[in-house]
Amino acid sequence: MSSGTLYDKVWDLHRVAELPGGSTQLFVGLHLIHEVTSPQAFAALRDKGLSVRCPERTVATVDHIVPTTSQSRPFADPLAEEMLSTLERNCAEHGITLNGIGSGRQGIVHVIAPELGLTQPGMTVACGDSHTSTHGAFGAIAFGIGTSQVRDVLASQSLAMNKLKVRRIQVNGRLAEGVSAKDLILHVIRTLGVKGGVGYAYEFAGSAITALSMEERMTLCNMAIEGGARCGYVNPDAVTFNYLKGRPEAPSGEAWDRAVQWWRTLVSDEDAVVDDEVVFEAATIAPTVTWGITPGQGLGIDECVPTLEQLEPGERPIAEEAYRYMDLQPGTAIAGVPVDVCFIGSCTNGRISDLRAAAAVARGRHVASGIKAFVVPGSEQVAQAAEAEGLDQVFREAGFEWREPGCSMCLAMNPDRIEGRQISASSSNRNFKGRQGSASGRTLLMSPAMVAAAAVLGHVTDVRNLSLQPTA
């Protein structure tokens, strides 16, 4: 076993060869595919007369285009139907397992692979989706790829990659009550910027990180990409192992004991050299909300939209664009900004603990008049678990719609979208112009509990001011 960071060790384990161009051929341990970025890759394989090298290391689901109201087939949208039937055909032809609608295993690709136990420490994980960084929460090296690279992984189970530098994001202390992993990552991105992580993998470490649950760690690593870092990871520990134990695709019996033993050796060495380190104090972080058009334009809930003078010169042009687009003036307090639509879900915050946090706010309250609020579980398993706990009823009684699993309004490739200039409070990951389906629509990113709080008051508010009624 080589020494260094977890990133170094996993990289070395998966290195196949150095390629003539100077990049490294890296073996991919788990290849996740979905309906949006794979059809052209399969078509290219067909054109080149190639087959899928490791269908058993390839796992498919359908998430981006699925409707969340009725999922009966054929879908009302013929393009969506064509995409799913193409995926079904490609998987059948190449012997790839497809976790389809109704299988009990369908859902957002970054929700299902962890919950099935497919994602494990020490693996390399690739998927044609930038939020593949999520899987780094397990101590895997996981990164998003484009369709040509999906083709390469299908054909060779490997990729041409260049090694990243490692920046340790050291978070000391404990997050305050009512402050979540979403707030932490929005704070990190706000501090280091949306391009701060370009060229780096982010290693999240420190007492505040080890105190996080697996689902919180997934939220954190999910948005590493929004900070420019293609991968984020957390060193595996007892929290990781406890989460994995007993999952359908996790090792069991004697193999489990051997696995844990091996996983422990992957952790970054005490004396591992990182290329950069940034230290945060967890206790100073407030619930954080974005006000602008990049995920780096964030504010603590008690803060105001910055004036140009408060910003670095390089940030001013995009701030001016954001003032115009968001119709938010410098100096406006973010608390109190009215919202139209509230969305709880996505690969960032569509897991059971996210729904519990939102339900604790919603229980015994009601969505404010004129607000459309809906909850989209991240997977069929999440939906089942939530329904078993009665969370669906809590949400329905509070005036939220309870939907079927999928990516939904995170990127609005299905019928869920904001209209016109509507402004959404969203537990998703991107507030880019036009992201949620309307070319002039606006998005405020925040934690699921903060979205629920915005839904019941009709405007952005500090969830810590609302009493909570968590599940027993």
Binding site: V16, L19, F143, A155, M413
Partner: protein
């Protein structure tokens, strides 16, 4: 439209288009609703669809003076956000064959390389000067030369950078990695026999 590149990419010659703005994400380059497709063929017309419709004909991709341009000059963190290869595909189907900017998002850069679309970088001051020049002289032909690492017109010459690995891949024509990866089939097999998680976690 020019055909897509094949073989060595040492030079890109053509007029340029300046697109000003930091952090232009791939949702803007190609909005998600256009990802509902099983082929990339129609994407050229849809590039920057929402930005163009907002500017009502005044977007650089619509302006008469930039039609036929093949080199895009951008600012920092271009192509951030979603991994969609639809973004470089849309740019290329519109006619772009090279991008010059301050910096590029990682996944976008890799997607471009896999299509033979060079992304060259230059300092912010150089880019500002280049964009000003392109805006005032849109008909001026430029050459991005990966051998000499320059971006030049008849009157100007600027130094640009391309990382050595991608540069070698483009110059040698080996930017399409598939065949190189397949050449190592035996090595992949050997590695698979050693990886603990593929072998019951039994030490090899």
């Amino acid at each position: 439209m020019n055909s897509f590149p094949s073989g060595p990419v040492d030079q890109v010659v053509g007029t340029a288009l300046a697109l000003i703005g930091e952090d232009i994400d791939t949702d803007r380059i190609i909005p998600a609703r256009f990802l509902k497709c099983v082929s990339f063929d129609a994407l050229g017309d849809q590039v920057f669809a929402d930005d163009r419709s907002e500017l009502n004909g005044e977007h650089p991709f619509d302006q008469q003076q930039f039609q036929g341009a093949s080199i895009l000059v951008v600012n920092g963190n271009f192509g951030c956000g979603s991994s969609r290869e639809h973004a470089p595909q849309a740019l290329m189907r519109w006619g772009i064959r090279a991008v010059v900017g301050i910096s590029f998002a990682e996944i976008f850069y890799g997607n471009c390389l896999a299509l033979g679309l060079p992304c060259a970088t230059a300092p912010a001051e150089t880019i500002a000067a280049l964009q000003a020049k392109v805006l005032t002289s849109p008909a001026l032909p430029w050459t991005l030369d990966l051998e000499t690492m320059t971006f030049a017109s008849a009157t100007d010459q600027w130094a640009v950078a391309v990382d050595s690995g991608p540069r070698q891949m483009l110059l040698s024509g080996r930017w399409d990695a598939t065949s190189q990866l397949l050449d190592q089939g035996e090595e992949v097999k050997r590695l698979m026999q050693l990886l603990p998680y593929l072998n019951g976690f039994i030490a090899q």
